[in-house]
Amino acid sequence: MPRRLLRDGRIVDDDWSYLAESADGAAALILTVAEWQTERAAWMARGARLGVVLQPADKVELLAPEISRLDLIAAQFSGPSEGRGYSQARVLREQWQFGGELRATGFVRRDQLFFMARCGFNSFELADTDLEAAAAALSTFSQAYQPSNDGGLPFKLQHGGPNIPANA
């Protein structure tokens, strides 16, 4: 059965495979940083969509040289207290202008989704079985106090009056 995940707020079948779980050389592959680095040229020559999964301690800069060749970057959350992925996501989106799929994987629960989405993640491999409840968690809060990466959530930064959309 294909993995189900939440992408752009919708529940979909995953059309990506990790290299380790791909017996048939699936078209869209997610590699570890080590797999990506050892045979970068060969992977790119393959012509199919490519993704890389970052471990929490991996520097985002590792992917910088060919970031435009990647269609997906995943950040691994190793446990309930792991928080580096939030910063990795913002750096990827804001400093490296990564526009592809940004996926949260590992220890990902519905209670974290709102924050993850605000940092720039747009897809989530969830441990929760109730994906619909998880999708609802994306709108836990209707506003925010600080600008971030969610293009459109109304935010205020200590000014009164009407809220201004983040991307206005």
Partner: protein
């Protein structure tokens, strides 16, 4: 005048000089209550494991303690309206055992709420614009400040608008909710540091540069706990519009680089120490290049709007007087120790001592809270402040009304004339309540109070800060006490390690251990020995702290360990 009318007398509207929630604040806090209600429901229904729920409840101030859950409620930079204080009293009576405990970080803790009732408590708090968001857990905690903000004569600039700015920015910050460890920020605007800012993860000091422009000195890497360290200057002048972008840069470096493999090495102080201040600063400044011109830039209109919330209340046109002249010794002592200078003629700031000898330091009952709410409305523009030293403050009392106020406080057990003296101890809840503690604190405070019950002696000793923690986590700030007391566990028995020479103010320093720890029954006698040396050796007007700094630990140590142990 009709009874009840006096509440409004001279006070304008309630809580004039404080931030008021707008629709965004209200919406966010009530959405948070709904979220936490759902999380609690899922936990009680078995849909969330203990461990999963732990991470969620901690970010909402809920610990599971020795006897019951403990709920910590934020009091942003220590400011309470009378209405809020009344609500805190009401919650204490209906959901707890009739009291609350004020902490060193301007929060209040309830020690006996029922887990299933916590969502209801949060809803009641939301009604008075309060919450428990980020009062625990590895996230940015309640921003603290000088309790004399806006009224102290030595102030450069009121820090409260900047505190509110930080409060908003840090609340539900999406990137910094799962930090390596907790993160505490304190802001001060006066040369005297009354917020212990140098032992915070980040200390923000309002300063002016040579051109007279207002900005900030930014410190980082201070902290207590197992590895006490005084913060270091990361930037000596930060233009004011960049405050948030600079904090964001510091937090991002910390979030990505701080250690997560060892809870005892996870605070920013350890990162800063291992990188060195130069390298740490370089990384922050590199990161700041990306954040400085983001939407975090604060413009003049935003600053002006925030300042507008903290306009001075409607002071009357008065002159300074001598309210204590010709009054009783008791009132004169209280006036001298429990009131302090105000920048407006005819006014004083008045401390409400929560250090009555037979009461746990920082504890206050439901009816005391309600009485204080009434009194604040009558005497101090309907506002109450929480101090870092676990007392309360009426910031704006007319000098001529201090005597009336004192009489009422005295009857309610809230006029112990000991502010700044030996018995004005900072103290954590200790073994009696906290599941982390190795040893009791409250009972030791009691023993010290019993030993030092002569006010003439206390006053002769002058300024003296005793700070006590029941374990290495140092919630009682023992490292920065003039005398610090740390509870340790020695094969199941409660022992106490004594330090001297610590300070939390502008001249912050860490205390030195005087020698082997002492038994509980010897703590008070040990302090008596230390003070004996001080009294013998002090120079005129020299504080205990300064005598220790001048002489070093040696003479104190010799006296303590030469003396026969107390029976």
């Amino acid at each position: 005048m009709l009874s009840g009318d006096w509440r409004m007398e001279g006070c304008g509207t309630y809580g004039d000089a404080m931030y008021r929630y707008d629709l965004t604040d209200k919406t966010l806090v009530s959405e948070r209550v709904a979220q936490f209600r759902d999380q609690t429901r899922r936990f009680l229904a078995g849909e969330l494991s203990e461990d999963e729920f732990r991470h969620l409840r901690l970010r909402n101030g809920l610990y599971i303690q020795r006897h019951a859950p403990m709920l910590r409620v934020a009091i942003p930079y220590g400011l309470l309206s009378s209405r809020q204080l009344r609500a805190l009293g009401s919650i204490a009576r209906r959901y707890d055992r009739g009291y609350g405990h004020f902490t060193t970080r301007q929060n209040i803790q309830y020690n006996w709420p029922k887990l299933e009732e916590v969502p209801d408590i949060l809803a009641e708090l939301a009604d008075v614009e309060m919450h428990a968001i980020q009062t625990s857990g590895n996230c940015i905690r309640n921003t603290t400040s000088d309790h004399l903000a806006g009224v102290t004569p030595d102030e450069l600039e009121d820090p409260r608008p900047w505190c509110e700015l930080i409060r908003q920015w840090s609340t539900f910050h999406p990137e910094f909710t799962y930090l390596p460890r907790k993160f505490k920020i304190a802001v001060t605007g006066a040369p005297q540091d009354r917020a212990a800012s140098q032992v915070h993860d980040v200390g923000v000091h309002l300063v002016r540069n040579l051109n007279g422009e207002l900005g900030f000195e930014i410190l980082a890497g201070g902290g207590l706990g197992r590895t006490p360290i005084i913060g270091q200057v990361v930037r000596d002048f930060l233009p004011r519009e960049h405050l948030l972008s600079y904090l964001e840069a510091i937090l991002r470096v910390y979030n990505l680089e701080g250690r997560r493999d060892n809870i005892h090495k996870a605070r920013i102080k350890i990162l800063l120490r291992s990188l060195g201040i130069e390298e740490f600063r370089r990384r922050v400044e590199d990161e700041w290049e990306f954040t400085r011109d983001s939407g975090l830039r604060v413009d003049d209109a935003q600053i002006a709007r925030l300042r507008g919330f903290f306009n001075p209340p409607a002071y009357r046109n008065l002159v300074n007087t001598e309210p204590a002249a010709g009054k009783s010794t008791a009132f004169r002592a209280w006036y001298r120790y429990n009131t302090t200078a105000h920048k407006v003629p005819g006014y004083r700031a008045v401390y409400i001592s929560l250090k009555k000898p037979d009461v746990a330091p920082g504890d206050v009952t439901d009816s005391q809270m309600e009485l204080l709410a009434d009194l604040a409305e009558r005497y101090s523009f309907a506002e109450v402040r929480v101090t870092h030293t676990q007392n309360l403050l009426f910031a704006d009392v007319e000098q001529e009304q201090t005597f009336d106020l004192w009489q009422t406080l005295e009857k309610a057990g809230l006029a112990t004339p000991n502010i700044g003296t030996l018995t004005d101890m900072i103290c954590c809840p200790g073994l009696d309540f906290c599941s982390l503690a190795n040893a009791g604190s409250i009972d030791v405070a009691k023993l010290i109070n019993d030993r030092f019950d002569d006010y003439d002696y206390l006053y002769d000793l002058g300024e003296l800060e005793i700070k006590m923690s029941g374990c290495m986590n140092a919630c009682g700030h023992h490292h920065v006490g003039h005398i610090g007391i740390l509870g340790v566990d020695k094969s199941g028995e409660e022992w106490y390690q004594i330090t001297i020479g610590g300070a939390a103010g502008a001249d912050a320093s860490l205390g030195s251990v005087i020698g082997p720890s002492v038994a509980k029954t010897e703590v008070a006698e040990t302090i008596a020995n230390l003070l004996e040396v001080y009294v013998e050796q002090r120079r005129p007007d020299e504080r205990f702290l300064d005598t220790v700094r001048r002489l070093g630990v040696k003479p104190f140590k010799e006296r303590v360990y030469a003396a026969p142990a107390a029976a």
